[in-house]
């Protein structure tokens, strides 16, 4: 089936190129049939890529090692769940996933707009098909997932142990969904610029896709952070890694876009800003894809560097930037605002400041992410940039964002009187002051951390502001309809999904950033090397290494530890952590040694997560010095036995080899069990972090709010629009 897969890729490329030509020819000559044919090309590509993706998925599930990517990223012992996810752990598979998702979402967008924005759609179709052509070409020329080997290995290398985590099943498709969906508003924005139809129409058509992209990218980023926290064994969730930043930057820009388009929709303002913002967001999505694929910046998440692939991406990004800038400059006269800010005390003004802060934050992250590359180009030496470099810039800007996320919901559009402002700010401000007083009096050490204290106060302000908005909304609805409070709340949210979905997102963001501030400022961390029976203290907790565990299996050898956590003599929790070593395929490490000296390792953390603090630990059992003499001796003996067996007649070799491997397995089991019978000291990383759970909980609230805002408007609300139309017509007639 590899030949079919390869043929499908070529078919996809041909159809994409045809679709670009058909769309452009159709719109230039005014022949609708060609435009429709161009649009249908995208549907056809979606079908072709679905078929191609299914072929590669089946190859992984069947452990068909004749496919090179299956042999490199899967094995017969890889669990089925991870076999399915192993496709996108490879460069080739993830590029195919990219094209597949792009074709699916683009098809959906083009289907939904088939009778709308007719002048813009053909250009948007051509641009989206252009992206499809580019990525399909990459898979054919540089990263073909259907390349096969004439002599397939009997066993594959297996999936990287670090990727054997539940979230990794969802994280990459989520991030790619975000990236690919961002190309849709990008394409429509370029289409609007080309045709000069620059009203809010293209925004209304693509807003839902921008919101869905924002939501998926956000969920992807959060899942990545969760993976980092629970799998990577360093105890953190965000390392300002280039690939993490690559996903965060378009998310920040799309956040700004989703706010500023409201100003254009309502007031006809910020047209240049909005179109520039979405073009930058789309370009940033491709830059993000490039960073993961290219490996130009060192990152745990990046694939191996490929110069040819890199040049192709640089050309695409350059074309996107040049086209975007040229068109914005060309249309600058038509992009003039239709009105001006009525007052600095208005939601428009708050949105504008928020936009500037988000763009500044993105610019800072972009600069610091690429700084190692720039410093290498200028000085010849690559300078590494870590979290301490980011913090002084990012923290103050994050504080402003949280504060604005509280101010935004309680300030009206157009204008606000000072008296009104005072009335709306009173409760959230009082809540923030109370929070500050409580924290300063009840929690020791908070006063010394100004930024954290401010984040707690601003977060409380935002939460109180959102709560006040919900409360007032429910009260107003109850006054009109006399509904019970829960029904009034449900109806209020249902009829105003954008507004209350947005408010929910703001509340979630406040909770999330309170969690970030708390966990990053007040974290306690230490290393302790212990043998069973020994203990270490951290942040008032006593952590005792109770016993060691060892589990040899066909997949891996696992050395573990059970720890008892107490505080003030009272039992708090029991933690279990382990260190897994997957056998290496490198025969030079020895028949026995390859089971113990592999680089293919994973950590299972011991975690007790609570609403106010997490107790986190991981054991590092990479070194096995007490076993080394036995391993060396075993390697030598088995090597000589293998040599002896190789001299036997072929008919006798098979049974002798079976006996030999059974002996080897027994030796490995006995050596592994020595960790229990004769335990040696191992190193533990012990961490006590406050409020980490707030981060995940805040993320769930953000996602929930995003879903509310994304959900289609109910029929009732549409009916209301019609009645409003009659009311407006009546008002005009009366006038």
């Amino acid at each position: 089936m590899a030949t079919v897969g390869h043929a499908l890729l070529i078919l996809g490329l041909v159809v994409a190129v045809y679709g670009v030509a058909a769309s452009l020819y159709g719109v230039r000559t005014g022949q609708r049939a060609w435009v429709d044919s161009g649009r249908r090309s995208m549907y056809a590509i979606a079908g072709v890529m679905t078929f191609a993706f299914l072929i590669i998925e089946v190859a992984f599930l069947r452990s068909d090692f004749s496919y090179n990517i299956v042999a490199s990223a899967s094995s017969t012992t890889t669990p089925t769940f991870y076999k399915a996810a192993a496709v996108w752990s490879t460069q080739q598979g993830s590029l195919l996933l990219w094209v597949w998702l792009l074709s699916l979402w683009s098809s959906l967008a083009l289907f939904l707009t088939r009778r709308r924005v007719r002048e813009i759609v053909p250009y948007a179709t051509a641009i989206l098909l252009g992206f499809c052509s580019f990525f399909t070409m990459l898979t054919i020329l540089f990263a073909n997932p259907f390349s096969t080997s004439a002599n397939p290995p009997a066993e594959g290398a297996g999936l990287d142990p670090l990727l054997r985590h539940t979230t990794m099943m969802i994280h990459p498709p989520m991030v790619y969904t975000g990236y690919t969906m961002l190309t849709i508003p990008f394409a429509f924005a370029l289409g609007a610029l080309i045709t000069g139809r620059l009203s809010a129409e293209w925004i209304q058509v693509t807003r839902r896709f921008a919101l869905a992209a924002w939501l998926c990218l956000g969920i992807g980023v959060l899942l990545g952070a969760r993976w980092s926290y629970t799998e990577l064994g360093w105890g953190g969730y965000w390392a300002w890694d280039p690939v993490e930043n690559a996903a965060l930057m378009p998310w920040l820009l799309s956040t700004a876009f989703l706010h500023s388009i409201m100003i254009q929709e309502k007031r006809g303002m910020l047209k240049v800003w909005n179109v520039s913002l979405i073009l930058a967001t789309g370009t940033m999505a491709i830059i993000g894809t490039f960073l993961v694929r290219s490996g130009i910046l060192s990152s745990i998440h990046a694939f191996v560097s490929d110069p040819t692939l890199n040049i192709s991406f640089v050309v695409l990004i350059a074309v996107m930037i040049i086209a975007s800038v040229s068109l914005v400059v060309y249309r600058r006269a038509e992009l003039r605002s239709e009105s001006q800010l009525d007052s600095l005390l208005s939601r428009e003004a708050v949105f504008l400041i928020q936009n500037l802060v988000l763009v500044a934050l993105t610019a800072v992250i972009f600069w610091l992410t690429f700084f190692p590359l720039i410093s290498e180009a200028v000085t010849g030496q690559e300078q590494s940039i870590g979290p301490p470099t980011f913090r002084p810039f990012v923290v103050p800007l994050a504080l402003v964002i949280v504060l604005l996320s509280g101010i935004g919901p309680i300030i009206a559009w157009r204008r606000v009187t000072v008296a009104n402002l005072r009335r709306n700010f009173a409760f959230p401000t009082a809540a923030a002051v109370v929070a500050a007083v409580l924290l300063l009096t009840a929690v020791s050490g908070v006063g010394g951390h100004t930024f954290a204290l401010l984040m707690f106060c601003f977060g409380t302000f935002a939460l109180a502001a959102v709560a006040q908005e919900f409360w007032r909304g429910v009260r107003a609805r109850r006054a009109m309809t006399h509904e019970a409070a829960p029904i009034a709340l449900f109806s209020l949210v249902r009829r105003n999904r954008r507004r209350y979905g947005g408010y929910t997102v703001h509340a979630g963001l406040a909770v999330l950033l309170i969690g970030v501030a708390g966990s990053s400022t007040f974290q306690h961390q230490r290393y302790a090397t212990m043998k069973p029976g020994q203990s270490a203290n951290i942040d008032g907790y006593n952590i005792r290494y109770v016993r060691s565990t060892a589990v040899p299996s066909a997949q891996k050898i696992s050395f573990g530890a059970v720890l008892d956590v107490t505080k003030g003599g009272h039992h708090v929790t029991t933690l279990r952590t382990s260190y897994g070593i997957y056998p290496s395929q490198d025969p030079s490490l020895g028949v026995v040694g390859r089971f113990f000296n592999s680089n293919s390792v994973e950590s299972r953390i011991g975690l007790d997560a609570g609403p106010f603090h997490d107790i986190w630990t991981v054991v590092n059992a990479a070194d096995v010095p007490p076993l080394q003499p036995y391993i060396t001796e075993g390697d030598a003996k088995f090597a000589s036995l293998l040599t002896a067996i190789s001299k036997l007649p072929p008919s006798a070799q098979s049974s002798q080899l079976s006996t030999l491997f059974a002996l080897r397995d027994r030796l490995i089991t006995e050596l592994t069990q020595r960790f229990v019978t004769h335990p040696w000291p191992v190193q533990f990383l012990l961490i006590v972090s406050p409020l980490v759970s707030w981060l995940w909980f805040g993320g769930i609230i953000v996602a929930f709010g995003g879903l509310i805002a994304l959900w289609p408007i109910p029929v009732l609300a549409r009916r209301r629009v019609r009645s409003a139309a009659y009311a407006a017509r009546l008002a005009r007639d009366l006038a």
């Binding site: 089936m1 030949t3 079919v4 043929a7 499908l8 078919l11 159809v15 045809y18 679709g19 058909a22 609708r32 049939a33 060609w34 429709d36 044919s37 249908r40 090309s41 549907y43 056809a44 079908g47 072709v48 078929f51 709308r116 924005v117 007719r118 002048e119 139809r197 009203s199 129409e201 209304q204 929709e265 309502k266 309680i410 300030i411 009206a412 559009w413 157009r414 204008r415 606000v416 009187t417 008296a419 009104n420 009335r423 709306n424 007032r472 909304g473 009260r475 107003a476 006054a479 009109m480 105003n496 507004r499 629009v721 409003a724 139309a725 407006a728 017509r729 008002a731 005009r732 006038a735």
Partner: protein, 95 residues
């Protein structure tokens, strides 16, 4: 078998892509008159946005973010803008 699968896929693609050229019925007047329908669609989008703005102002007023005085001023302005959009929409539809 593989060759057959590729041929089936290619045939399906050709069928999908060429469907608009096999259409026998003429295009509707609405589809042909792209300029007018685009203008109408643009105005309808503006009208939807204006209605949303009016509803938002009403909700802002009910929840106490806008004083009575501010609300009446904003509401009057918004309704005036909505009326001019409706007038333009009627004109565009007449053409």
């Amino acid at each position: 078998m593989e060759f057959l699968l590729v041929m089936v896929a290619a045939a399906a693609v050709i069928l999908i892509v060429s469907a608009p050229f096999r259409r026998v019925e003429p295009e509707t007047a609405e589809a042909q008159d792209t300029g007018t329908s685009s203008k109408v669609a643009e105005l309808e989008a503006a009208r939807e946005a204006k209605y949303r703005e009016i509803r938002d102002a009403e909700l802002d007023h009910r929840t106490g973010k806008l004083s009575d005085e501010d609300f009446h001023s904003v509401d009057n302005a918004l309704r005036a803008e909505a009326i001019s959009i409706l007038q333009a929409l009627d004109r565009a539809k007449e053409h």
